[in-house]
Amino acid sequence: MKAKTGVRLQQLALLVGLLVVWQFAPQVGWVHDSIKFADPYFISSPSEIVTTIYDMATGHNDSLVMWSYLLSTVVASLLGVLVGTVLGAVAGLWLSNNQHWSDVLRPFIVALNAVPRIALIPVFIIIFGPTLKTAMVTAITVVFFIVFFNAYEGGRTVPPHVINNARVLGATASQVMWRVRWRYVLAWTLASLPNAVSLGLITVVTAEILTGTTGMGRLILNSVTTVDAGLTFAVVVILSVLGSVLVGATAVAERRWQHWWNQGDGVIGS
């Protein structure tokens, strides 16, 4: 308990230290002179960011109110990650349980994964219009592959004698898939979620910047046209808080369902 408090205190000290440096270092003459971008014009400052966020939250100082933009990004990210994860996990489970279709489809999946999804955003805009849907679909195409490859590997790590044991006990192919492989796939899927969430969020914001109509990406576009570092960093801070909350939620799910995973039982039969 004491050790944990110590860690927390040090984390807090580090955070405060970084904020203090960010806030005050540009005001020190030689720092300002030797590093060109050590200037609030480029990197804003913690106090300015806090003020901007406050204004955006309340509409104070005739500011844009961010809530509808934030909601759009949250919805697109959550749906994108959720749908991409479910599709990726189920596809990974199915192919890991089916040697034939795995052999047939794998080269296609590898090739599709090599497609830069961001480059497809214009196509999605044509299909879905410059809406939340475009951001969501792009996120799905990114998250699906991250989760799929992890889920597939997870399904393949089940030792053959564990599968054989289930078969000897009368398990059908679908029972082997759902009652044996599935938990490995789930474990590996959950392990891939922090990456999937953060890349999903990046994709959503990128799509929003390109569509230029909704979401936090639209606010970033505003900050570019008005050369407003404060607004950019405010959006960035909000997005990182959002990302952390989403990743934290996956960690809770992992602790709850995967308690056995961290007990050296990740690879049974070893």
Partner: protein
């Protein structure tokens, strides 16, 4: 109690001139003919790598015999599960409690679950795992994990149980402590056993008959009847001159096979 082992009863399973060659050309089983009677415990010992485990794989239908046949003369009229197996490596599902692992057969075979519901409780009691019902495999000792794997296989109330060096990972006192429970439970459920082991003491303690195999490709070198009967005290038995004599004969035959396999390997070397 169910029927006693009967010398005259039709064999439960018979292997007729079974041979087995792996796809890579390695011949594991030369030609083995062997019949196991209902309720009989048969031990298989032999030089390491001689094809003992392949014999079990053929019986469990993980691979088909290259020639010869496996027949079940009593047919399928019995409503009992044909066979289950305890593997050398751990097959417990780490996300399930002891109780749910033992129930795996019932989970996989919903229709038979009702008639065999009591067996799970009974087996957990007989194996001394009452206090660990709700424990996960990672919370168990090595011996308890093996007990759980054993009763999980027995919960199918199979007519034949295949044991593939099931206790080889345990230290000797733990292993001997399990032997008595294994004997009691297989006799209680009138299950025939085919035990592959490299522990001659284990073979002599548990079996009604011990077969010594030659080096690969395996053939039957000798067969030894064990006269202790089904009711035996595995601890007291170890000091019985009959046990020591049997152990000596088994060791004599096995060492002869080991010598031969060494000699033939020597010839093969350039």
């Amino acid at each position: 109690m169910l029927t006693q082992t009967n010398e005259l009863a039709a064999p439960l399973v018979s292997l007729d001139q079974v041979s087995f060659t792996y796809p890579n050309g390695t011949q594991a089983i030369g030609e083995v003919s062997l019949a196991v009677r209902p309720g009989e415990v048969v031990g298989i010992v032999g030089p390491s790598g001689c094809g003992k485990s392949s014999l079990l794989s053929v019986l469990a239908e993980f691979g088909r015999p290259t020639s010869g046949s496996v027949t079940w003369p009593q047919g399928e009229h019995s409503n009992r599960h044909r066979l289950s197996m305890v593997f050398q490596k751990d097959t417990l599902l780490p996300w399930l409690t002891v109780e749910d692992n033992v129930k795996l057969f019932q989970t996989m075979n919903k229709r038979r679950a009702v008639e065999k519901a009591d067996i799970v409780d009974e087996l957990i009691g007989l194996a001394g795992l009452d206090d660990f019902r709700k424990s996960y495999p990672y919370q168990l000792s090595g011996g308890m994990r093996r007990r759980t794997a054993f009763i999980s296989a027995m919960a199918a109330t199979p007519r034949l149980l295949l044991l593939d060096e099931p206790f080889s990972s345990l230290d000797e006192p733990t292993r001997i402590a399990i032997h008595q429970d294994v004997l009691n439970i297989v006799h209680r459920l009138d299950t025939a056993v085919l035990l592959v082991t490299h522990d001659l003491g284990e073979a002599a303690t548990l079996c009604d008959r011990v077969i010594v195999l030659t080096a690969r490709p395996a053939r039957i070198a000798s067969s030894h009847d064990v006269q202790f009967g089904p009711e035996r005290d595995v601890l007291a038995l170890r000091q019985d001159p009959v046990f020591l004599d049997l152990y000596g004969r088994l060791w004599h035959d096995l060492s002869e096979q080991i010598e031969r396999s060494r000699a033939s390997q020597g010839e093969e070397r350039p």
